[in-house]
Amino acid sequence: MRQDLTVQQMSEDDDRSPPLDLRCGAAPSINRARNCSGEAVSGSGSSTSSSIPASVPVTVTEYQSQYPDQVLEIVLENVLQFLTSRRDRNAASLVCKSWWRAEALTRSELFIGNCYAVSPDRARGRFRRVRSVVLKGKPRFADFNLMPPDWGAHFGPWVCVLANAYPWLEKVYLKRMSITDDDLALLAESFSGFKELTLVCCEGFGTCGLAFIASKCRQLRVLDLIETEVTDDEVDWISLFPEGETCLESLIFDCVDCAINFEALEKLVARSPFLRKLRLNRHVSIRQLYRLMVRAPQLTHLGTGKYGPSEVAQRQGDTEPDYIAAFAACKSLVCLSGFREITPDYLSAIYPVCANLTSLNFSYATITADQLKPVICNCHKLQIFWVGVPCVIDYQCFEEIWVLKLILAVIMQALDSICDEGLQAVAATCKELRELRVFPMNAQEDVEGPVSEVGLQAISEGCRKLQSILYFCQRMTNAAVIAMSSNCLELEVFRLCIMGRHRPDHATGEPMDEGFGAIVRNCRKLTRLAVSGLLTDRAFGYIGKYGKLIRTLSVAFAGDSDMGLKYVLEGCPKLQKLEIRDSPFGDAALRSGLHHYYNMRFLWMSSCRLTRQGCQEIAQAMPRLVVEVIRSDDEEETDNYVETLYMYRSLEGPRHDAPKFVTILR
């Protein structure tokens, strides 16, 4: 099998390589050779901080005469140091066994896209010198409560092995993993040179765990908590950072919804001269923000906390600090975010920095288009823009008075233009825009949303360099999507979420097939696609036919029959991540992907029309695939249809930590 992970078909050159024991003995000398041969190599690791002495002379010729391959190996390892891309490294490791070994010895960044695809021991066994680990756990749909809690993705088993195997570990990046305070404690204690911890969409720990990290990781440069749940253990973790100057470069804790000791934070910022990125949580008021900014004018990334006064401040009636001057003093500021619980009066304070901003996140700020426009009109360099759009009227409360509702609906149509206007301002000014995300503030389906196809059309005409878009709306037309497909040819990520399920083109009443078809046809660089609205199998036909580079596809409430899924599985050779919910795809469609599942990271299908037998067939046909059937509760399945299928390739077979509601089919 082409992609069989265990048996790597590679040429054997064992007859020329030295015996195993000598091999191990030779390793240190290879080390020395490398150090002697030159300066610290960049590439995929930060070997600069290693303390291997460089003074030992090497007699390469001695080895050379006996084992000519040694030199080749040394050269290879030196060359491979420069290979940073993991895909390149994967390819290099398949050339032959010696390349495999050399690559394994020199890989310092370990990326594991699915923590269950490989065991910690196996990873440790192959890669001996790892400085940085990226681990991803749960599938993305778990973020939307489609997966019961305690499904898995525990960091515990990993941190135990990492602690033993990689004492020089410096960086850990975890996404959608379940982490406990003990895990963080072990991490903090095990790696003396630990530098960077980034936790994205994780959960399971609290401020206790943060306290361990703060107090024990003396070399810590980066502590980034992004959209991670942190329980409030009422521990003052901020004051546990070491005294004296710190190495902190980035401190992001906007998602940590606990009160913090502000005085300690202020002192921390004051003694962190290298701090460039600071994102505060909503417990920091604007007055406090001022004090921090004054101490850290070198910031490049700033996340304001609560962008407004606390009640206490209001009462005091002190003179307001000069916020404008504080912002003006931050001459390096390029990224601004936060603005929670915003008091719009203070928005003008950021005008001085707008001209330099490349990234602006207003997605938590409830402001009107009129308040947004003066800010946006100055942001000529903006490349990344996230905005939240409030929905003005909820007319659920008017359902009894249907006449009034009709009238309101007419009015709303006029009001629609208000927030499309904000996007029009963006389109007019931000010619460098690469990434746009438009979120709804009121995430309900039937409330009128003030962005529509008008906004999308404007963006497509104004922001020609757009690479990535995530756009929530209530209604859309094919015409606007087609316009975007022909205007924004650089698009790599197109995620359109028409929040009303099965909504057709609201101007023509037709399905949204043609719009998405145009996207896959015209945007030749597209790698990620999320579809919505009323879609027939035809849309999937287009995706299968034209979406040759697509790696991630998200489908919800779409398609007519098995053909839809078949088109995709048969047509998209690069597909790695496929997540589907509430679509009428069944066992026959599932079977049509047998040739491809080993190439994929995972397949998720929930509330589709899969039977247990169908899933069983797949499990039996593909031994290296872990086929999980997930129920939403502990009861036995009464329906014939499987609620959730989550399957992924793995070298380890069924996992041992599966909870009761998960059945692994064999």
Binding site: M441, R501, G559, S583
Partner: protein, 322 residues
């Protein structure tokens, strides 16, 4: 739809009639129709589609929400009968496609809805009507019509709870904020195990003039009204006892156990306030219920006359010393 067939050509837009009197007739129809179990699933029901599906978890909905769905489905049924293709979604004037709905209404007026209503029992339209249901219950040809306001579905729209919680926080400041009754629909989307609820659900509550404080379990209530009623129950006796003792122990049966009312809107003798996790004192009732539950630290019943004095002084510590 008996009424409609009698009137024959009568215009569909007699929707007000539909709403009012046809409700019962729909019921009748439902009871008579179901034959096979498959048909039972597909038959018209007065509820959200796929009602037996666990995911829809309507147990938590208030009656008000049920009625809302009632209306919406009734109205949509009226229009389903008159349009044959998916292209015309103008029928759903409950949708916001407002400008189209008026002409559509006029257009449909000449068609009798009754005969089409019979068609509703045909598989195609049945499926269409229930097309919003999780696909496992129905065959779903999506090219047919869609019903209007759907019941909330888990995880849709796909927005992380971080953003939803914040939306709740900021929305409460908007002029037209949701009523607390909307909370049940929001909670469907909340993480079940990580609800923004409390570790410790018991909150101390003190009342002015009553030296004994009580504790309330906020998880036992789901609205301010219920909390208010509970508060009344907790303190009514205590307050009466307090009054009796201050009156010299003379038990006056008539005065005993006067109800404590109006604590939420300032109309009563006492007003309910609370201290939140930031230490601020707030009037109870301003923010959505689940937000309140997650931020409240202590409750207090103040004499209403003192409430305005408080807001001037903002001297929090004095009041929380006990």
């Amino acid at each position: 739809m008996e009424g409609c067939s009698k009137t024959g050509e009568q215009a569909c837009p007699q929707l007000l009639d539909l709403m009012a009197k046809e409700r019962r007739e729909w019921r009748v129809m439902r009871d008579g129709e179901a034959s096979s179990s498959e048909e039972k699933k597909l038959e018209l029901r007065l509820g959200p589609p796929g009602g037996e599906d666990k995911r829809w978890s309507l147990k938590d909905s208030t009656n008000r929400e049920r009625d809302a769905h009632h209306h919406q489905y009734l109205l949509s049924l009226g229009y389903f009968s008159s349009t044959n293709n998916s292209n015309n979604n103008g029928f759903s004037f409950l949708h916001h496609h407002s400008s189209r709905s008026l002409p559509v209404m006029a257009k449909e007026s000449s068609q009798p809805c009754c005969t089409k209503v019979a068609d509703l029992q045909s598989p195609a339209e049945k499926k269409a009507f229930l097309s919003s249901a999780p696909a496992k219950n129905t065959a779903v040809p999506n090219s047919s019509q869609k019903r209007t306001a759907p019941a909330p579905v888990v995880g849709w729209p796909p927005i992380r709870s971080f953003r939803k919680n914040l939306a709740g926080a900021s929305a409460s400041k908007l002029p037209a904020s949701e009523s607390p009754n909307d909370v049940p629909s929001k909670t469907v989307n909340e993480k079940p195990a990580h609800e923004p609820g409390r570790k410790n659900p018991f909150v101390k509550i003190n009342m002015d003039g009553v030296p004994i404080g009580r504790k309330v379990d906020l998880n036992a209530y789901d609205s301010y009204e219920k909390l208010s009623a509970a508060v009344d129950e907790l303190f009514r006796g205590l307050l009466a006892a307090q009054r009796d003792s201050s009156a010299g122990g003379i038990v006056n049966k008539q005065e005993e156990e006067k109800a404590i009312t109006g604590v939420l809107d300032g109309s009563g003798e006492y007003t309910l306030v609370y201290e939140d996790n930031e230490g601020d004192r707030m009037l109870v009732g301003d923010v959505p219920w689940h937000m309140f539950v997650s931020t409240v630290k202590r409750l207090r019943l103040l004499k209403s006359s003192e409430v305005s004095a408080l807001s001037r002084e903002k001297c929090k510590t004095r009041y929380w010393l006990d």
